[in-house]
Every structure is written in C-alpha cells, then in structure tokens.
C-alpha cells in the first residue's frame, strides 16, 4: 500500500505526520500525511464520514491522534491543549454560546485575551460588518436563522485573527447567493490578513473555486493532494475522478506510445507512462465529448437516451453500441432517440492506472 505524500511546503505552518485515529477500534483516519504552508488555503474534500471533521479536530486539539504527530510551525503540539493553540475553529454545528448575545459571542475570544474595551468594540464591529450582521449585536443567538448563526460563528473565529483558521463546512447553511458572497469574503480575508485556512466541504465546486490546494479524502485515506486544476484534470484514480465533477470512466488498454483503445475503438492520447498492453481506466469529462456534424464522422456512434436543459448547456445521456452509458455536455442539442457521432481530442483523454475497484482505489 502506498499513501499520498507531498513535498514540504515553503514555510510550513502545519504538518500531519502519519496521523492515525481510531474510535473504539474503528480506523477513522489511516496514516494521514499533510503539509500546510503559511497563508495557504487548503480544502479537505470528501464524502460524508470520510474523516474531514476528525482531521480538523486533531489540528484544533479536540482529539488526540492514536498514532502520529501534529506539528505547528515546526513544533510538535500533540500534547498542547486546545486553548493554548493559536488556532480558531468555525464549528460544523456552530456551537454558539446560548447565554450570550451576538456581540458577546463574538467578543468572547478577545475578552479572554484581555484586549482593551475600545479595541474589542472596533474588532467586533468590523467582524459584524464582514458577515453582514450589523445591527444584530443585542440579539440572542437562539433567535437567529441557521445562516445567521453560521455567520456569527465565522465572525467569532476570525475576529481573533488566528494564525490558522479551521472551518468545518462554514457555508453549508447559506443560500446560494450569500454563499457565493461569503466565499469571496473569506477568500479576500484569507489573502489580506494572511491567515492559513483549513477548510472542510463536501461541495466540490466550492473546493475548486476557493482553494490553493485540495485534499481529496475517502474513508480516512487521502487519495490526492493537489491544486484544483490538477485535481480536476489529472485525477489519480477512479474515486477522485468520479468525486470531482462529472465524468465517464471506461476500462481501456494502452496499446503503444500515445495510443489507447476503449469502447471498441482506438484513440490517440497524450499519456506516455504506461506499458504496452497495460489495462487502464479512461476518464472523459462530459464537456470534452464533441458531437460531430454527421454521425459517420465520429469515432463512436451513440444513441441519445435523455436530454436535460441545464442553462448554459444541455446534459445528454447516450448509450454506445457496447451498452456503455456516456454523459455529454454540449451547447448543441440532439433529440432523444437520435444516433449521434462523437469524437474526443487526444488531450481530453485522461488515463489512470487500473485500480481493482473503487474501494481499493488508494492502493496503487
């Protein structure tokens, strides 16, 4: 078994070294190695229950790893209690103090740090502005909507200007418009204040638009670490390809230099690091499937089985002669039942080493 690793970052803020976590004998994190640079925006992405929150809680000091080390600025902090870590958290379930109003919730950390009153007032006010909750100072937190509570939770954490901010799905309760706004605000804040962000989401679009680095996890294992572009364009295995964006994944065989066969046809590709005759998984994004003018011009002939209008494009499902289902995103529409020809450009054909199954995807 090999696990995803990563070279050390420029100025390393946090490093997880072989972090292993078990709950009642169940492995929840399996040898996590992760390096987070100063001012980096890192997103943990993965399906529910994959261990994102647990990873954050280990960094925050609320769980101790069963094995492995947590380094902060080069220091091992396994035994440093949460209240001494220069880290603040936006909790998945907000955890606002019900006995304090909005203002006092946000001022909590500053008061603990014994900042002077004027300083506190200014900082809380600008934090409230940031999350668009001016005028809510005296409101009790239980009278707020879910989205408003979430924004108080964000304000309560960022107001302390921590070195590292841990955000556990901080935008999940917001409507689309507010979410987009807050995404921008958070991103700006991260750049301006120079805070390192460790962000958790299971929304892959959010991960791709906000992050410098995306960490794709599944069942306690890191499957890939990389920039949003590399994660999207060069998924390392079926799981990552399937989880990030839509894709068609087909079994294929690498024939010779830049030639691969799948769906009963030969295609020119750009990948070179495979052995002739090697079985591979082929990933094709729906937007990379080009519909030809005439069916006869295409490399493959497909029969359209459904068409859905998605705004910018049509999403079509089509069956190949071998029964393989394809998803196609295109601005030209082909009606249901029509036979179409499709072609795929060489650099849109992405090959991955064959993995036995989705479950074993981390095993290379």
């Amino acid at each position: 078994m090999t696990y995803e690793t990563q070279p050390a970052a420029g100025h390393e803020m946090i490093r997880l070294v072989d972090v292993h976590k078990e709950f009642d004998g169940e492995t929840v994190l399996d040898r996590i190695n992760l390096s987070i640079a100063k001012n980096e925006f890192v997103t943990l992405l993965g399906p529910s229950g994959c261990g994102k929150t647990t990873t954050l809680r280990i960094i925050g000091g609320f769980e101790t790893p069963t094995a492995g080390d947590v380094l902060f600025d080069g220091q091992r902090i396994n035994d440093i209690p949460a209240y001494q870590r220069k880290v603040n958290t936006v909790f998945q379930r907000y955890a606002l103090f019900p006995h304090l109003n909005v203002y006092d919730n946000i001022a909590f950390g500053l008061r603990i740090a014994k900042k002077d009153a004027k300083d506190i007032r200014e900082k809380v006010t600008s934090a409230l502005e940031l999350v668009e909750l001016r005028g809510f100072e005296k409101r009790s937190v239980s009278s707020l909507s879910g989205g408003q509570q979430q924004r108080v939770a964000i304000a309560r954490a960022v107001v302390n200007e921590p070195k590292v901010l841990l955000l556990d799905e901080p935008l999940a309760a917001l409507d689309l418009k507010l979410r987009k706004e807050m995404q921008l605000e958070l991103k700006n804040m991260q750049k301006q204040l120079g805070i390192t962000f460790v962000f958790v989401t299971h929304d892959q679009e959010e991960a791709l638009t906000m992050s410098d680095t995306v960490v794709v996890m599944k069942e306690g294992v890191i499957h890939q670490i990389g920039s949003p572009i590399s994660i999207y364009n060069e998924p390392r295995n079926i799981f990552v390809a399937d989880f990030i964006g839509e894709s068609v994944i087909l079994p294929g065989t690498y024939l010779e230099h830049c030639l691969v066969t799948f769906a009963g046809q030969k295609f020119v590709c750009v990948d070179t690091d495979f052995a002739p005759g090697e079985s591979v998984d082929v990933v094709i994004r729906p937007e990379d499937v080009d519909i030809t003018e005439e069916p006869s011009e295409g490399a493959l002939r497909l029969k359209v089985t459904s068409v859905v209008f998605k705004g910018v494009h049509y999403e079509m499902l089509a069956d190949g002669e071998d029964g393989q289902e394809w998803m196609i995103h295109s601005t030209t529409m082909a009606p249901e039942g029509q036979i179409i020809g499709v072609s795929i450009k060489p650099d849109n054909i992405h090959l991955m080493k064959k993995s036995a199954s989705l479950e074993g995807a981390a095993v290379q």
């Binding site: 925050g60 000091g61 609320f62 209690p81 949460a82 209240y83 880290v87 603040n88 958290t89 909790f91 379930r93 955890a95 606002l96 103090f97 019900p98 006995h99 304090l100 909590f108 950390g109 603990i112 740090a113 309560r156 954490a157 302390n160």
Partner: protein
Amino acid sequence: MKRNWSLYPYVIWMVLFTIVPILMVFYYSITAGEGGFNLTLSHYARVFEPLYLTVIWRSIRLALISTAVCFLMGYPVAMILANSPEKQQFSLIVLFVVPMWMNFLARTYAWMSLLETNGVVNMILGLFGIRPIAMLYTSGAVVLGMVYNYLPFMVFPIYTVLRKLDPSLVEAAEDLGANPARTFLRVIFPLSLPGVLSGITMVFMPSVTTFAISQLLGGGQFTLIGNLIEQQYLRTYDWGFGSALSIILMVIILISMGLISRSDAYGEGGGLL
C-alpha cells in the same frame, strides 16, 4: 377558548386540596376566638414580637446556611457525576439515592445516635484520646441534618443541566483560548444556573419549614418556625396564631422564590458572581 375537559379533575383537586386549605388558614389567621366572626390582626401583631422574630430569623439563617453548604458540596458532586462515564453514572446515582429510600425520621434518628455524647463519632474520637464533644443539640447538628437530608435536591437538578450541556460549547470556549477555569466561569457555570436556581429553591424551602430536624437534632433549643407552628396547632391549640405564622412563612417563601426567579437564568449569566 376551547374547553379542555381533561383539565377539570386537576382543577377540582387544586381547589379541594390546595386553595381551600390556604383560604381556611388565612381565615383562621384573621379571626379571633371561637365566638363567631371577629376580624382581628392580633395574631399577626404577635408574630412581630421579638421572641418570634428571633425564631423567624433563626429559621431563615439556618436554611440559608444549609442551602449554601448544599450548593458548595452539591455542585462538585453534580459535576463529577455528569462527567463520569455513562455506566458509572448510574451506579453513582443509585449510591446517592439509596439513603433516600430509608424513612426520613429513621435517617435523622441515625444521626442522633452518631452525634450523641456517647455516640459513635465521640467513641471514635475517644480512640484518639479526644474528649467527647457536644455535637448533638447544636445549630451545627441542625444544619448537618438539613444538608444530609436535602443535598440530593441540590445535586440532581444541577446534574441534569450539566449532563445536557452541549460539550461542543466547552470546546468552543477552549478554542477561543479559555483555560478550564475560565471555561467553567464563563460558560459551564452560567449555563448551569437554571439547575442551581431550582436546587436552591428545593433545598431552601424544606429547610426553612422543617420541624422534625430541629426537634430531633436541635433538641428544642433551636426552635424554628416549623416547630412554632406545630406547637400552635398540636399543643397550645392556638390555631389563629399558628395560621398567621403559616401565612408569614408562605410570604417568606414567595419572596425568596421571587428573588430567585428575578436573577434570570440566562440574562447576564455572571450575575451571581
């Protein structure tokens, strides 16, 4: 408004067994003698004689002391209970409750034999060469009796609140830099106030009204309002005065409950600090 017939038995019960007796007590307290209907305030005037004021003040003082002791002892116990593992909690609670299954008087008599001049405690002290100390029939013994009997009433409401306290709030406080002591003062304690307040009420009320504990452990030297009332009803048959005392006691309890509920559980949390 829709009539809710299911409420009627309850209403009848309330009227028969709560309101009517109170009205009768009130009636006795403002009428004089057996001969007909003579309105008088003389019973109330007697309550304010120095002799009786001393008794009232003593009752309030001893009740306050035992409430304070119960709070100081009960809060840590409640915290230990709430923080111990689920399985242990049950056995600890049973341990705590078992003495309560025993009859109240039997328990108090047991303390008498413990505290007597020739009692168990003095015997043990004697083994170390300490001369017998008079423990029974002191105000300390009365407070001890109250604390022993009513401590569970302080522990359980606090325990219940602490158990329901969302652990993520404690984590949030730590996350924001609060050490365990600060976390306790600024988050855990304010959030447990509702339990503390009901604990205080539930200890103060029986302490201020008790007559058995003061009779047995105080030996008649520490007459409380409860004893006074008992005397009027059962020995001197002065129902008028006894009733006036009862009404005054009710007023004391109402006022103290009012004060407690005024110190609004959430509002400014730290109010009690």
